[in-house]
Symmetry: C2
Subunit: 238 residues, 2 copies
């Protein structure tokens, strides 16, 4: 095993696919499969094999020519790259249906994340126990001294901007925002947004194109879907 020489920067697009590979590898390890080729991994992740090789080459050379990759070693390598060898403390703000759904989702714990706080501002909800954690307020969270690395916002849209600013004041620099709208925050704060409406609208666009293509009998316009499969993220939550 050679020294893991850290390359300069892993491309953003590659970072977005590492979780896919990691999930596939985890499933394989559960089945006791210890070796995998780029072709097989590509099938499981829904990308092309050349893409897998290029992506993994950015982490260093951990494959064996003529054989493939060692599942366990590769899994460990990707985990380290993604920073999952430590546990990041996560706070969920907004205990509506969605917040509860995320709190109940077990996929975090032991996989690099731990929910350390559930937050709401409704006096009816604050103090109640959800999934073993007592719901608190943002101000109480601030004075408690609990460290939070990642904030998940599941509040109604109007509250999101204020909540985000308060999270930043608490030292949070990574935010996952489920509320619609663009958050304006200081440089250095990383925001990712997930929006149901946006996703549906993109699907509607393609759906409409398909219908138009059929009604005009124009087969050329029918190649609406991208490549082998069209995905950006993955799905979670039972």
């Amino acid at each position: 095993m050679t020294a893991p020489v850290r390359r300069a920067g892993v491309p953003e697009a590659t970072v977005g696919r590492l979780p896919l590979y990691l999930r596939a590898l985890t499933a394989l390890l559960d089945q006791g499969i210890t070796s995998i080729s780029s072709e097989e991994l590509a099938t499981l992740a829904g990308v092309r094999s050349a893409q897998v090789r290029k992506d993994l080459s950015h982490l260093g050379s951990y494959g064996v020519r003529g054989v493939g990759y060692d599942s366990e070693q590769l899994s460990a390598q990707i985990s380290q790259e993604l920073g999952l060898t430590q546990e990041w403390p996560v706070a969920i703000v907004g205990m509506g249906n969605l917040g509860r759904a995320l709190a109940a989702y077990g996929g975090f714990t032991g996989r690099g994340f731990r929910i350390v706080a559930l937050v709401d501002d409704d006096p009816e909800v604050v103090g109640t126990v959800v999934e073993g954690l007592t719901v608190t307020t943002l101000t109480a969270l601030g004075t408690s001294g609990t460290a939070v690395a990642i904030g998940v916002i599941t509040t109604p849209a109007p509250a999101a901007q204020t909540v985000a600013e308060q999270l930043v004041l608490l030292g949070v620099r990574s935010i996952l925002n489920f509320a619609p709208g663009h958050l304006v925050l200081p440089d250095g704060v990383d925001v990712r947004g997930v929006d149901l409406a946006t996703e549906l609208q993109i699907l509607a666009f393609h759906e409409q194109r398909r219908l138009l293509a059929i009604s005009t009998h124009d087969p050329l316009v029918a190649d609406v879907d991208a490549g082998p499969d069209c995905d950006l993220g993955r799905g979670a939550l039972g």
Copy 2:
């Protein structure tokens, strides 16, 4: 008003941003603002102004030089482009926490989408009324003859593939998958995936980079965040 000459194809990246513009425009119209420049729209959507102009140019020339865009006309144009002038029937499969959260989210109705069916396979849940709709099974949905254009999968991961295949058999060709893992479906079916774990892992990657940059006092590695703001999708759900 000139004839709306349909350009060949709107780039996929542009399609992904049209919902952002539409949301911003909707907010502006609520405030009674009837005109907007690319600069302002860019700020609201969290992109650059040149990007806005390039994107909108793909829909045709609806701006006025020296002035800007007419909010209402632009909103209507984007809505039409995204296929929101009709109502797409949506079925949500999986009535767990997340499925209920999505069912309760009002942002669909009247905005291009209508939830026509809630589906689960648990006999305890089937037949109960959620948000005014009686929960049904996939097979019952099939025999009912209810048309479904878009299927939203909020089941546990192991059920997702089978559910997706059944949806396709019902004629669904657009699927929004919240379950983790890659769905293998026939060509022509459009799948979009949303996964909490993936999003968190991407945030963890950047968070780790930041910490490494600080600990090694290397300011060059600190420019972790992309451009003005780092977003792919938007957020919804109270």
